[in-house]
């Protein structure tokens, strides 16, 4: 058991950091200074949209995905040519079987103003 302790810690570290021990290629959000209603040409009938981007990891060994702000904004805007304002950013985590498979998502909800 004593020999297994470092291995357990390494696995825990991998699970916590969303990184894979063998292979990692993920994007994580860092910063997004969003617009307020006063910053854009907002209107009361502006649609509210939501977008999500995710990173995934499996068996602590592999991690992949694009959980970036950029991907979440692209996903939220879809085909609209506008700008997001009044944005709420949340993180959604799903982990199963002691974290053997996990999904960490960036969820953006906001309104779309015309440019």
């Amino acid at each position: 058991m004593r020999q297994l302790r470092p291995l357990c810690l390494a696995l825990a570290a991998a699970a916590l950091s969303s990184c894979g021990i063998l292979y990692t290629d993920i994007k994580v959000p860092r910063g997004y200074r969003t617009a307020t209603p006063a910053d854009v040409k907002s209107a009361s009938d502006d649609p509210t949209v939501s977008g999500m981007s995710c990173n995934r990891s499996a068996i602590y060994l592999f991690a992949w995905g694009d959980g970036s702000y950029a991907a979440a904004v692209t996903n939220a805007l879809g085909t609209r040519d506008g700008i997001l304002y009044d944005v709420r950013a949340d993180v959604k985590v799903n982990a199963y079987v002691l974290g053997l498979y996990s999904k960490v998502c960036t969820v953006l909800t906001g309104k779309v103003a015309k440019l």
């Binding site: 810690l9 990692t24 993920i26 959000p29 997004y32 969003t34």
Partner: protein
């Protein structure tokens, strides 16, 4: 002592790739590639803070240039010197992954950019076996050119 080292490693690893949210301009958390056990050399630059523009702060009459992207990277090499899971290794890191390099990258692709707004900053974490690591700062924004 061994447990303490493992705990420090745990915290260091977790913080390196943790998703950091809004308020970047106030928290000023550096985005440096994590050094390993025995650092042979370390010559990198990473993002610290960047107070970006909102649409209202654009200069009047500025010409829209659309969506632009720029990135800058730090690279790290970690050579294991023992065959155990604690991963004692000799490491080195090099590269400029800072905001200024990412903005220079945008300027290189669109030389008439006068400024950017609606800026999203993300970090790309790439690693193979923990031996080669890459940490990139990716800036996605809307750009404008100076008024004609």
């Amino acid at each position: 002592m061994r447990l303490l080292t493992s705990a420090v490693l745990l915290v260091a690893l977790a913080s390196s790739a943790a998703a950091r949210g809004e308020g970047d301009e106030e928290t000023a958390t550096p985005g440096l590639i994590p050094p390993g056990n025995f650092v042979l050399f370390y010559d990198t630059e990473g993002p610290l803070s960047f107070v970006t523009m909102t649409p209202r702060e654009r200069p009047k009459g500025a010409r829209e240039l659309g969506l632009v992207k720029g990135s800058s990277c730090q690279h790290g090499l970690s050579v294991p010197i023992t065959a155990d899971v604690r991963g004692t290794s000799i490491t080195g890191a090099i590269g400029n992954g800072g905001y200024s390099k990412a903005l220079a990258d945008i300027k290189k692709s669109k030389p008439d950019v006068a400024g950017i707004y609606d800026v999203r900053t993300d970090m790309r974490v790439f690693s193979i076996l923990g031996i080669y690591r890459k940490l990139c700062t990716e800036v996605t924004a809307r750009a404008f050119a100076a008024a004609p």
